[in-house]
């Protein structure tokens, strides 16, 4: 696990549900075929209504028309990020598009589990809303060891909530890597 993640912020509102993260019509693509996987990058966050996309101004697509990756690597959002369906295609799509971490006030349970257990993006929680102060395009630096987020553009540092128990799974890179290290799969190794 990198200890510092640096990149541009992409700011969203509250209750960003999985249909906004990856609309259901795109769920037909393979998650293993390299050519089809690109489609998840292309359509990541394409369901967000355009006026809500890339706050505070809106009108900023996460991935530009014709591209398969996003220039933004840290998503900043309000409460209940990832609510709705169980589709793991959602954190997968964010990863394929190039997102490394999410900073939200809270997460829906299944999305949070999927981020951690699948090792896709790191879901940090912030005790105070940051999606009003951070602006889309701001350069951020996320210090994972010290749970600290610095907005390099505005020169402000914020404390994030520690990842808690799941830090071991995040550090291992997912539930399988964690389970292997801790002998939890011993009885079922093929």
């Amino acid at each position: 696990m990198d200890t510092i993640i640096q990149g541009k912020a992409y700011v969203l509102g509250k209750n960003i549900d999985t249909d906004q993260i990856i609309p259901a019509e795109h769920l037909v693509y393979s998650l293993s075929d390299p050519e089809e996987v690109k489609m998840y990058g292309k359509y990541a966050l394409s369901g967000v209504p355009i006026d809500q996309a890339g706050l505070p101004e809106g009108g900023v697509p996460f991935v530009e028309e014709g591209d398969f990756a996003s220039p933004y690597s840290i998503i900043v959002a309000g409460p209940n990020f990832g609510c709705g369906s169980s589709r793991e295609h959602a954190p997968f799509a964010l990863k394929v598009a190039g997102a490394k971490a999410i900073i939200a006030e809270s997460y829906a349970r299944i999305f949070y589990r999927n981020c951690v257990d699948g090792g896709f993006v790191i879901p940090f929680e912030t005790p105070q809303p940051l999606n009003k102060s951070i602006m889309t395009g701001d350069e951020l630096s996320l210090d994972m060891e010290n749970n600290r987020l610095t907005n390099l553009t505005q020169n402000i540092t914020y404390e994030l909530r520690p990842l808690g128990d799941v830090v071991n799974i995040v550090q291992a890179g997912g539930i399988f890597e964690y389970a292997r290290k801790n002998d939890l799969m011993a009885s079922s190794e093929a």
Binding site: N15, E25, V28, L31, N80, G84, I110, N114, M185, E189
Partner: protein, 431 residues
């Protein structure tokens, strides 16, 4: 030590006497459910992690019910069904319900109940957020992603945090204009879409126990819309009667201890409640139907795991009998069994199917269909600025297809009454 029903089920599945909320435990899984959208990637991860020749932990405990993208020309969707078929054959899975055969069932949460997989006291995980529907049988059911599902496929286990419980008690006699959908939309308006995140939602009270099993399923189905880990109703004689006609497998009935600790408790008297809708674009954006009555609609949609079961159609038929719909009205039975019941169930001397056809509704084949939009040729999919009144479970932007459409979540009574007038209409105007 006093425990809630959810704690007791966790304790049983973790081989412990009791468990504390907040504690993470490894659960032995009784059933793993998957479908055509999340099955193929789950199987991929399973093979990648456990090896190309690995066998699932227990083939009898894996239930594969394709239901999402069934009646479409989309080739990728067809390929996903092929991948399910291939994996089921390789692994010798007895509980695969193949598309295009007489084993096809339809929407997984409803079919799971019909096929006798829902047993009180057991633990079900499924690669679908509405797996919480099965909590109506006094069991634990919860949605997970593909990675967690692949882990279960190989090991039969999963870690889960023991949830705090919230209790919702409904007292009084259910009025004929109120349905389980109105009760859960009422709760969502009160606690919002993250009001139960990581918690169990336990439903209780004489009004809940007066409901048939499919209405109890509606109540538990939308626990996820409040962020709940599970919804749960302790089993009673109604549950047992349903289960016993479908399976002879053993089960254990648990009840919450009277002095169990709850995160919070809510009480409602159903006799004082009104039909409600969730307005665009969130399931917690509640309003009484009366307060938004007259809002023009372009479509009415009655279907899905939430609102496409027999009781939903019985209720809709009460309103639609002898009337004509004035907007496109899609009737989408959840399963093949529900579709066949439309032919045999009578209301006032006519079959439900006859009533819907006479009213001008279009009846689709059983699947998830437009509840989640689906491929562009999906029946009932919203287009442009459609305003839909729907018995489904979510109305986030774009959920039923078009990003520009608005969806009002409602009971089957409200959806039927609104279909007749072409405007949001309180069902009491017709009853």
């Amino acid at each position: 030590m006093a425990q809630t029903i959810t704690q007791k089920i966790f304790a049983r599945a973790a081989n412990r006497k009791f468990v504390d909320p907040g504690q993470s435990v490894w659960l032995n899984v009784d059933v793993l459910l998957t479908h055509d959208v999340c099955g193929p990637p789950t199987f991929d991860i399973f093979k990648q992690e456990f090896g190309p020749n690995a066998k699932v932990w227990d083939p009898s405990k894996v239930v594969v019910l394709p239901d999402h993208y069934i009646f479409t020309a989309n080739e990728h969707a067809h390929r996903n069904i092929d991948l399910l078929r291939q994996f089921a054959a390789e692994q010798g899975l007895p509980n695969y319900y193949d598309v295009g055969t007489d084993r096809y069932r339809g929407v997984c949460h409803v079919a799971l109940a019909e096929e006798g997989f829902n047993l009180p006291g057991t633990v079900l995980f499924g690669t679908d957020s509405h797996t919480c529907t099965s909590g109506a049988f006094g069991m634990f059911g919860s949605g997970i992603g593909n990675t967690d599902a692949a882990f279960i496929l190989g090991t039969g286990k999963l870690w889960e945090k023991v949830p705090d419980s919230m209790k919702f008690t409904f007292e009084g006699q259910m009025p004929d204009y109120l349905t389980a959908k109105d009760l859960i939309l009422q709760i969502l308006g009160d606690i919002t879409t993250d009001g139960a995140t990581y918690r169990a939602m336990e439903f209780d009270g004489e009004a809940v126990y007066s409901l048939p099993i499919d209405e109890r399923m509606t109540l538990c189905n939308m626990a996820i819309e409040a962020g709940g880990m599970n919804g749960i109703i302790a089993a009673d004689a109604v549950t047992e009667a349903f289960v016993k006609t479908r399976t002879s497998k053993p089960y254990e009935i648990f009840h919450s201890d009277p002095d169990a600790q709850y995160h919070s408790m809510y009480r409602y008297n159903v006799e004082q409640m009104e039909p409600v809708v969730a307005q665009p674009h969130s399931p917690d954006n509640r309003a009484t139907v009366r307060s938004v009555a007259g809002t023009p609609i372009t479509k009415s949609y009655i279907g899905s795991c939430t609102g496409g079961k027999l009781t939903d159609f019985r209720l809709a038929a009460k309103i639609l009998k002898g009337k004509k719909v004035s907007v496109t009205t899609n009737i989408v039975p959840a399963t093949v069994l529900v579709a066949s019941q439309l032919e045999t169930e009578m209301y006032d001397g006519q079959t439900l199917r006859h009533i819907f056809e006479e009213a001008g509704c279009s009846i689709a084949l059983p699947s998830c269909a437009a509840c989640l939009g689906g491929p562009s040729d999906t029946v009932g999919r919203s287009v442009d600025n459609d305003v839909v009144v729907s018995t489904t479970n979510r109305n986030f932007p774009g959920r039923m297809g078009s990003k520009f459409a608005g969806v009002y979540l409602a009971s089957p009574l409200t959806a039927a009454a609104s279909a007749v007038t072409g405007k949001l209409t309180d069902p009491r105007d017709f009853l």
